[in-house]
Symmetry: C3
Subunit: 272 residues, 3 copies
Amino acid sequence: MKPSGIITLMTDFGLRDPYVAMIKGVILSINPEAKVIDISHQVSAGSIFQGALLIRETYPYFPPGTVHVAVVDPSVGSDRRLIAVEVDNHFFVGPDNGIFWPILQEHDISKVMHLTEDRYFLPVVSYTFHGREVFAPVSAHLTLGVTLESLGSPIEDPVAIAIPVAREKEGVLYGEIIRVDNFGNLITNIHQQEFEEYLSSAPPVIEIGNLTVKKFGFIFVDVEEGEPLALINSSQLLEIAVNLGRASDYLEKESGEIIGTMVRVRKSGNVL
Amino acid sequence: MKPSGIITLMTDFGLRDPYVAMIKGVILSINPEAKVIDISHQVSAGSIFQGALLIRETYPYFPPGTVHVAVVDPSVGSDRRLIAVEVDNHFFVGPDNGIFWPILQEHDISKVMHLTEDRYFLPVVSYTFHGREVFAPVSAHLTLGVTLESLGSPIEDPVAIAIPVAREKEGVLYGEIIRVDNFGNLITNIHQQEFEEYLSSAPPVIEIGNLTVKKFGFIFVDVEEGEPLALINSSQLLEIAVNLGRASDYLEKESGEIIGTMVRVRKSGNVL
Amino acid sequence: MKPSGIITLMTDFGLRDPYVAMIKGVILSINPEAKVIDISHQVSAGSIFQGALLIRETYPYFPPGTVHVAVVDPSVGSDRRLIAVEVDNHFFVGPDNGIFWPILQEHDISKVMHLTEDRYFLPVVSYTFHGREVFAPVSAHLTLGVTLESLGSPIEDPVAIAIPVAREKEGVLYGEIIRVDNFGNLITNIHQQEFEEYLSSAPPVIEIGNLTVKKFGFIFVDVEEGEPLALINSSQLLEIAVNLGRASDYLEKESGEIIGTMVRVRKSGNVL
């Protein structure tokens, strides 16, 4: 695969500390022509699950041959492996902790390499910053045309993580909230196709905790200001939003406790 | 107009979610040589007014031929138009909701196009993310030399928004606070010229709520630590600051309520 | 020295306001090929000390010939000098307020220029935004090959700031906390070498306020979840961390009061 010259970065480092800039400095020291694009550095600290969904959702918008570096790595320095992956015409570099699992799971063909060739690392590797000393230089070498095969040895058993899926039970479609965005919109794991097959044109009633949403629309202004509605968002997922408001404020939960909240979809007129 | 190859982005998306990165990925998929620069992604959610002033203040520092994408778009998906603008040797791409009005208002000559040529869009356009599916690809095509004229049909009636202006009434100059910056400085809509013409060399007294400022200086250290002063800032606007402190903390208002607060300038010695 | 074409930016401007983008616009107007990389824009407002340590820690990861612009400048517009520095094969541009002192102190050979040649500035220089009007254009000209010598006149007495150093007293090694990172890790000013020489293989006991840490490890997972440990971090400094937790939460202090807190290292078995 021909590299695009683009490297994306996703971490839980935040933007205050020097860590992200160090990674960029290392990359540009090896390939001054690399283009480095931030996906997000505000993944919740140590949340592999959140990072896994974020990179899964974002990578397809980049050109084929892009290298995606993901550093959400609470076990940094332990014996967890470091890997580079080639799948769906993109490269991925990061810890083998499941962060690329949703992408691997969706594609039949992939190559996963255990990073063992330390000639592609920085000369000194610390215990706590493999993003800088391994992932950054490896990603830069990939943009220069170093092949995946030369980075280490293939593995067949990358770490998997559990991805919650929507399921129907006794006539109700159950899902959960997987993200709360900057606007307070509640993104669920219920895909448009599941949603439509379940409803088969019946109008939906959606219940999340003590919030009941009966309006289904296409855009935020389909309801009055301050009123909640359900819609299929631009990633084809069921989302709860409030026109000119924050749906997350309607849940009476601390913001840290919203992810994982159960979402129930019923057909209007159903008896529970 | 020759494109500079630079695209700036201003949104209310924040930096946690994948939305900004998706826009950058789309741009680089069309023009891998484009340079994408963030202006800010922390415009208050849905605040067209705030975004309009921010892009107005920032664009002149970029080279002629730069494309400025502004996505503050609470009515996304409704029948509001999508536009591209050429004015003052810069391009602007965004919703027709007034976000470019302060710039259009200041220039006699401009071209405003309603974006209708969907061959310059992504193949699938969702209801809720026109930034990714329309503004990103259109901006990338502009950097490749696609002309404004080929993007759609000209319109003569872009949406206008009310921009509060300073005015004199019964011997007092009235303005309002239009921005609170990272340092807690209070930026007003009173321009240096209005301020100086009103005062004609009399010393000013400035009143904002219960805060009275009698010191006028040029730099923050012109007053003691913790003391407020008024100055003309680097954008030629009257600004209230506190040396090594936050003027916004002196107002006894919630931070969300400061924008729009009335500012009164009197000549020292005036009787109210 | 051959410029790398890269300019890094470190400021206390935050990311909400247009100030950082204005600097980038000015740079790209002078050198459209410059690569601008953000180090951090979240230095605490006016904290020269924090900025000085941050740039000192980060610059070595960039290629030789990189220009580092640092704008933490609470006395902007006063008679403090503006300088450009060449040291350790890197360029630095900013106010002469000590922000580059830790770097200058560590190298015998350096060139420090007082920026007086205003043909390398923007035509209009305001009182309060020298980052935009002086540092940005000067840094862009450096990437184009303008020599340090042509920017002004050499000075021998750049402003120094006090950098707290670890010291041993009556058998105890004293240091202090110099940074709290995004993960709540407490970074001290005790360098690996000082730490090891002091202990000479005795096990350490580390005391910070009411927190006592007896575990010394290499990686976070060396202790149980929620347990504190001391480690030498990737910058060779003693750091206190909590596995899957925030060490900063254990100090019973407001986050703004943690920097400067005394750190005491004793040899286990020592009587105080």
